[in-house]
């Protein structure tokens, strides 16, 4: 009896150990078409901990809209063609190769043979067709659906054989291979039933048992603890190998801790509880760099990000709203000279210095220097000049009272308010600097901090605001994802939403140019078209561009292959290659400093 009990105990203990340990990587098999990646050869083992601002809302790649969910999902799934974050160019993903027909409308993709989902089930063309049907399904309402609708018509997917799929585009589409980036391929064998029953939107919530979630990413879900963390473990069937034929990823586990604010992330990183920190503000970056010599952390300033912060005046059509006070001020906002004067009076260098502690770059257009492929270098960067601003205002009929207040042509004092999100300290600071800058022109500017959602409601719904400081951008450097901002009927055409017709000639020209660049296949020609768009924007100032922060990231000294990039996700895009250096070496390194 006793021995049986002991045996049972041993079996239980072994089972517990096996459950706790991460699965060993499967040895590469010659029938698998694996991808060999460049980079330092790492060592297996260890867990990497990352702090997240909040919990993911879902693990379903098709329905996720928020950045936090996508941060986790990105590690669990893979796409057919991906944009390499370091080179900003496309590279083969699950599709080993692809060919575009000469008319630019048909795309034929060859899939990797012999590769498997994280549950061991093989992947083939049926999964691709299934995934695209889900993305295109109106009932699922995926946020990526818009990307796959070209000129009002969806692209069509057909399976040619088990490992070949063909995409037919309704018309030529520039940089079409880029749309595959971030579109996760999903297991038909798991999700088809739910899809048929119309329950796809509810599939793969955080409470779904990990065994029912399978993807092609470097990791798979191990466990989720509500309010605390989500633990991912190695996908033993992952399709990438290193130079020594070791199957990636190196890490046993990747843990996302739900910590709260950015400050909380910084404190956890300082305390050594997390290994990587992703989006640092300039202030927190300099805080960490002050202790860098002691800790030896790898802090990386990647230079200008793709985000742009701007001041926008309310140019919406307010005739159906009861907002007479705002409508009266629109007479100034609509005057290009007024906007030019405001732009000339803004001290962008101060913004870079005081808001970003010099870890940022002043902006005069929608494409910053971080986007090397698309920036129009010919956009002028005029120095701040109050004289120019005063002359512009004078020529537009403005004058000054004896007390120095700016008066509009009908003698009313120029006074307006800038709304901004009270939780974004950087934009709050910009607003306070602008307030002081514009006071030099005699404008009375009020800074109105609002709860973020309340501000969005005013900007997007009620139009009850005069000016706002906001930020956009940060995703793909390609112009296509910016369509919704610059196209006159776009959903983020912030300064004038819901235009049925372009309200001005330059907006009409931008519409034409944006549409033309979308169907132009040659980069040089697209660049010329987009250069003109940038020029029109800089000349007509629908947004008054302020500055862009640098991409600032950090990692513990023992994190190997840490190569952050300016494209999202800055630090975990190569999570499959990240590894932890041997503990002893880490200590030694810290000791020698």
């Amino acid at each position: 009896m006793k021995s049986i009990a002991r045996l049972a105990l041993i079996v239980c203990l072994l089972a517990a150990v096996c459950l706790a340990a991460a699965p060993a990587p499967e040895p590469p098999n010659p029938n698998e078409e694996l991808q060999r990646v460049d980079g330092e050869v790492g060592r297996y083992g260890g867990r990497l901990v990352v702090g997240q601002r909040s919990e993911p809302k879902t693990l379903n790649p098709v329905t996720a809209t928020d950045a936090v969910s996508r941060e986790v999902i990105g590690r669990l799934s893979a796409d057919l063609i991906s944009i390499n974050r370091a080179s900003q160019q496309t590279e083969p993903g699950l599709a080993q190769s692809w060919k575009m027909s000469t008319d630019g409308r048909t795309f034929t993709l060859k899939l990797r043979k012999g590769i498997r989902f994280s549950d061991g089930h093989p992947f083939d063309a049926d999964d691709v067709v299934f995934s695209f049907n889900a993305y295109l399904d109106e009932a699922v309402n995926s946020p990526q659906r818009d990307l796959l609708i070209i000129g009002g018509k969806p692209l069509a997917v057909t399976k040619l054989d088990q490992y070949t799929v063909q995409f037919t585009l309704p018309r030529p589409y520039a940089a079409a291979e880029r749309i595959f980036d971030g579109l996760a391929m999903m297991p038909k064998h798991i999700l088809e039933k739910q899809y048929r029953e119309g329950r796809f939107v509810q599939a793969w919530s955080l409470n779904t048992p990990p065994a029912e979630i399978a993807g092609l990413g470097p990791f798979r879900v191990k466990k989720y603890v509500a309010g605390q963390q989500i633990v991912l473990e190695r996908n033993p069937y992952y399709w990438k190998i290193d130079h020594d034929n070791h199957r990636l990823p190196y890490l046993d586990e990747l843990v996302f801790l739900f910590v709260g604010s950015e400050d909380a992330q910084v404190m956890r990183f300082e305390a050594g509880e997390t290994d990587i920190i992703n989006r640092l503000s300039a202030e927190n970056y300099s805080l960490l760099s002050r202790e860098q010599s002691r800790r030896g952390s790898q802090l990386v300033d990647l230079g200008p990000s793709l985000e742009y912060n701007f001041l926008v005046f309310n140019l919406n059509d307010l005739s159906s709203k009861k907002l007479d006070a705002v409508a009266r001020k629109q007479a100034w906002f609509r005057d290009l000279k007024f906007r030019e004067a405001v732009s000339a009076a803004i001290d962008r260098d101060s913004i870079v210095r005081l808001v970003y502690g010099t870890r940022g770059t002043a902006l005069w257009g929608n494409v910053g220097p971080g986007n090397k492929l698309w920036v129009n270098q010919a956009i002028p960067h005029p120095q701040r000049s109050l004289d120019t601003a005063r002359q512009l205002l004078k020529s537009a009929g403005f004058s000054w009272s004896t007390a120095g207040h700016l008066l509009d042509p009908s003698g009313n004092p120029v006074e307006f308010s800038i709304v901004t999100s009270s939780s974004n300290t950087q934009r709050m600071k910009m607003a306070t600097l602008l307030q002081d800058d514009l006071a030099h022109l005699g404008m009375q500017v009020h800074v109105v901090p609002l709860d973020f959602r309340a501000m969005l409601d005013r900007v997007f719904q009620s139009f009850d605001y005069e000016a706002a400081i906001m930020g956009l951008g940060g995703g793909d450097p390609d112009p296509n994802p910016e369509m919704n901002v610059w196209f006159s009927s776009g959903s983020t055409h912030l300064w004038h939403l819901g235009e049925t017709q372009p309200a001005t000639d330059w907006e009409r020209e931008i519409d034409q140019l944006m549409q033309e660049q979308m169907v132009t296949l040659k980069y040089q020609k697209r660049k010329r078209l987009f250069d003109r768009v940038q020029q029109l924007i800089a000349e007509n100032l629908p947004f008054i561009f302020l500055a862009t922060p640098n991409v600032l990231t950090g990692a513990k000294p023992q994190v190997g292959n840490f190569h952050p990039a300016v494209l999202d996700h800055y630090t975990l895009w190569n999570a499959d290659q990240l590894y932890l250096r041997a503990e002893a070496r880490g200590v030694e390194r810290a000791g020698t400093r």
Partner: protein, 339 residues
């Protein structure tokens, strides 16, 4: 313990604090809203007495400049501190226009007693000017909340029955309201920009509106127990009217509670303004208040890197302690004189 001297010292420092705040324009060396973009987060200026030529009775300062991440003092030129200097123009107590300041140094040096904030604005000047708004708002809001609380609490406790139930029921309702959404709602109803004076009265009324319920319950408790005391019953037996009984016998009983409440509420309400500014209901930039000065400390890096920006917190603590001690002293004085 409560000797005359301690009370005197307390009264003097209390008066000193309030006078300093009242005459902020004269004591503050600079305009509190003037940005100096060369000096973000400049640390407090050091006062020097000794240089190469020996000791000087008149203290002097050095000009400092930002080099990369830290400030360097330029010790080639000394700027002595002068009393009664001409500087930025200001208006005091709403009428007195002047440009005379208690102390100052020659340009380009600046004397930043408590350092500078992220825009290079003088923290001491902001502290003094901010005190005007914060203390006035705190005091007035406390008065409003306590006046409402006294009326409602007294009526409720004295008349009892359904009046009591209705009033205390509404007090419970106020205590349980989700204030976050209420404040968002208030913000949505107001015009985008409210003038500083408007904001000031708005602050007072919002705080007063939220604050009456708790003290009202306390007052009611005291009144409830006082109205059944023998001397009150006797007074009623002699034909005293309700008003007479309340004024002569019952309300004096609540003074103690009200005083303690006042001493607790004033500092609480000064800090509440920081929370309200998060909803866009507080005093907005560039006008200083202790609340919006404190709100920059919500950033972790500011809290750990720029210790001098804790000045408004210290001012708040000192003020609170003074109010508590004063309430204590008055309470003691009332007790010793009431019998």
């Amino acid at each position: 313990m409560r000797t005359k001297t301690t009370v005197l010292v307390l009264l003097l420092s209390f008066a000193g604090l309030h006078l300093a705040v009242l005459f902020a324009g004269f004591i503050a060396p600079y305009d509190p809203t003037a940005q100096n973009r060369e000096l973000p987060y400049a640390p407090p200026t050091r006062l020097n007495f000794v240089d190469a030529s020996g000791f000087h009775l008149r203290p002097f300062v050095y000009a400092s400049t930002l080099v990369l991440d830290s400030y360097r003092e330029d010790s080639t030129h000394e700027y002595p501190v002068h009393l009664f200097v001409r500087g930025d123009a200001y208006t005091m107590v709403g009428i007195l226009k002047s440009d005379l300041h208690l102390f100052g140094v020659d340009k380009p040096a600046r004397i930043l007693v408590f350092g500078a904030d992220g825009y290079g604005r003088d923290e001491l000047s902001r502290l003094l000017y901010g005190g005007q708004i914060s203390l006035a708002a705190g005091l007035l809001a406390t008065l409003l909340a306590l006046a409402t609380a006294t009326i409602i609490g007294t009526v409720s406790g004295y008349y009892g029955t359904w009046v009591d139930e209705a009033l205390m029921g509404s007090a419970d309702l106020f205590l349980s309201l989700p204030w976050f959404y209420f404040l968002l709602g208030v913000r949505a109803f107001l015009p985008l920009h409210v003038s500083p004076a408007g904001t000031f009265f708005l602050l007072i009324s919002v705080i007063g509106l939220i604050g009456w319920a708790r003290p009202a319950r306390l007052v009611r408790g005291v009144v409830l127990s006082a109205r059944t005391r023998n001397y009150v019953l006797a007074g009623r037996g002699f034909g005293g009217s309700d008003f007479y009984l309340l004024r002569r016998h019952i309300l004096p009983e609540t003074f103690g509670v009200l005083l303690t409440q006042a001493a607790l509420l004033v500092p609480q309400y000064v800090a509440a303004e920081a929370t309200l500014s998060f909803f866009g209901l507080g005093i907005s930039e560039p006008v200083p208040s202790w609340g919006n000065m404190l709100s920059t400390l919500q950033q972790y890096n500011v809290l750990v890197s720029y210790g001098w920006l804790l000045a408004p917190a210290c001012a708040l603590v000192v003020t609170s302690v003074m109010y508590w001690l004063l309430a204590d002293a008055i309470h003691y004085w009332l007790q010793s004189h009431s019998i």
